[in-house]
């Protein structure tokens, strides 16, 4: 227990978390601090490229084994299944309509790539290795949850919610293409390729992550300020409980697959995190009647800060205990 608290305390005073906290506080205090849209977009491209590339290099370095395919399969199954659990939990804990509950559930089956990036940064700082192919698992878990949510909604109505254009947009959204593309570049070029661009994608990584999380804090703080009114106690409790439930499923999958301690942590983080980029865009197209103020505030204003501050150290401690790592 002391180890968990110590890890959580160390995590809370890291530059990454404090940058996020600064953003939240600045937004809540109505400061005019802002990161220009193009800069934020550039930083997200940098982070996705760096994390994808490093994952690919790790796979090239350590070789491929059967766990890659099984991890991908486990991730896809989790992404399909977690929205069903979230939907059931929401119907029990909140008074959301079927439509809003399905839209929220989609977010909790999909993943937050920034939470994933923050977790890999914590693992690196702790000297804990993880499987490089977890980057591919992250990409694979983005979309299935959307299909689950649309299925949940279609059970209550006969309306057509999915078309080919939406499917293409979901599967080929910029984050997935960049993450997978960088992963394959890293895999193809290996450690020699990394050595060529190391000074660009390794050394500045944490600094860029700090600035990006400052921006995320600003967005989360604004979301809480403007959308906080829709947050009822049941919904708030869901925003904290669901990631813990998701992480338990991720823990089970990671242990079944025989992943390393770092790999188990990342599987837990992926299962615990909630999307706030790819899924909201898909929901606006497919379920425009669902309220963004609910699903965005929950995923970005409640679950994201929870995972960043308490969740990641908690998952790390549990994974270390479970794997003996």
């Amino acid at each position: 227990m002391d180890d968990i608290l110590s890890l959580a305390a160390n995590n809370l005073v890291s530059p990454i978390i404090l940058s996020f906290a600064l953003g939240v506080l600045a937004a809540l205090a109505r400061s005019d601090l802002s990161i220009p849209e193009a800069v934020a977009k550039g930083m997200s491209i940098y982070l996705l490229f760096a994390i994808g590339f490093k994952g690919g290099v790790s796979v090239a370095d350590h070789g491929i084994d059967g766990t890659l395919g099984l991890s991908l399969l486990a991730g896809i199954i989790l992404s399909f299944a977690l929205p069903l659990i979230a939907f059931g939990l929401l119907q029990f804990m909140s008074k959301l309509s079927r439509l809003d509950a399905a839209a929220v559930a989609a977010h909790y089956g999909s993943i937050s790539i920034v939470t994933f990036v923050a977790a890999t940064s914590v693992l690196e700082s702790s000297g804990i290795a993880s499987e490089g192919h977890m980057v591919a698992v992250a990409a694979a878990m983005e979309a299935p949850a959307i299909l689950s949510a649309l299925w949940l909604v279609s059970r209550g109505s006969s309306g057509q919610r999915m078309d080919n254009d939406l499917m293409r947009e979901i599967l080929l959204n910029g984050s997935i293409v960049l993450l997978i593309g960088a992963f394959f570049i890293g895999w193809a070029t290996g450690p020699a390729g990394l050595a060529e661009i190391e000074s660009f994608i390794v050394a500045p990584f944490k600094g860029v992550l700090c600035l990006f999380l400052l921006d995320m804090g600003l967005v989360a703080g604004r979301g809480l300020r403007e959308g906080g009114g829709v947050m009822r106690p049941g919904l708030l409790a869901f925003g904290v409980l669901m990631p813990v439930i998701g992480s338990v499923f991720g823990l089970g999958a990671g242990l079944l697959l025989g992943l390393s301690t770092g790999g188990v942590v990342l599987m837990m983080v992926l299962s615990a995190s909630a999307s706030y980029i790819a899924v909201p865009a898909a929901m606006r197209v497919a379920l425009p009647e669902a309220k963004p103020s609910i699903y965005l505030t929950l995923s970005l204003g409640v679950t994201f800060p929870f995972n960043l501050t308490i969740g990641i150290p908690l998952y790390l401690a549990v994974a270390q205990f479970a794997t003996g790592g």
Partner: protein, 103 residues
């Protein structure tokens, strides 16, 4: 200077729907339009701002078409089929253009 009657149709819509809208407009034989970024605003669905958006999910754009008056109905039918269920505003007003053959 000689001017000619035309209609100006302004459609403010969620950014994620932009491509679907412009495809529908083109399918209605309206090949000329302009897409503008929108900085922020407020409406029945609450206020929003372009500042601090982490994705296009919450952003808005404005699509402006200037067309011959007889094409308005076809354009509005096509646009309405896309924007019907979504947040947005569609407005039509009279305007004058200098070169009628371009519209």
């Amino acid at each position: 200077m000689q001017t000619h009657d035309a209609k100006r149709v302004e459609i403010t819509i969620e950014a994620v729907m932009q491509k679907r809208l412009t495809d529908a407009i083109e399918a209605a034989d309206v090949t000329g339009y302009t897409v503008l970024p929108v900085l922020g605003g407020s409406g029945r669905s609450g206020g929003w701002s372009r500042e601090g958006q982490i994705s296009r999910a919450s952003g808005m754009v404005q699509v402006i078409c200037i067309i011959r008056p007889e094409m308005v109905d076809a354009l509005l039918d096509a646009a309405f089929a896309v924007v019907d269920r979504h947040i947005g505003v569609v407005s039509v007003c009279d305007c004058q253009v200098l070169r009628a053959e371009r519209f």
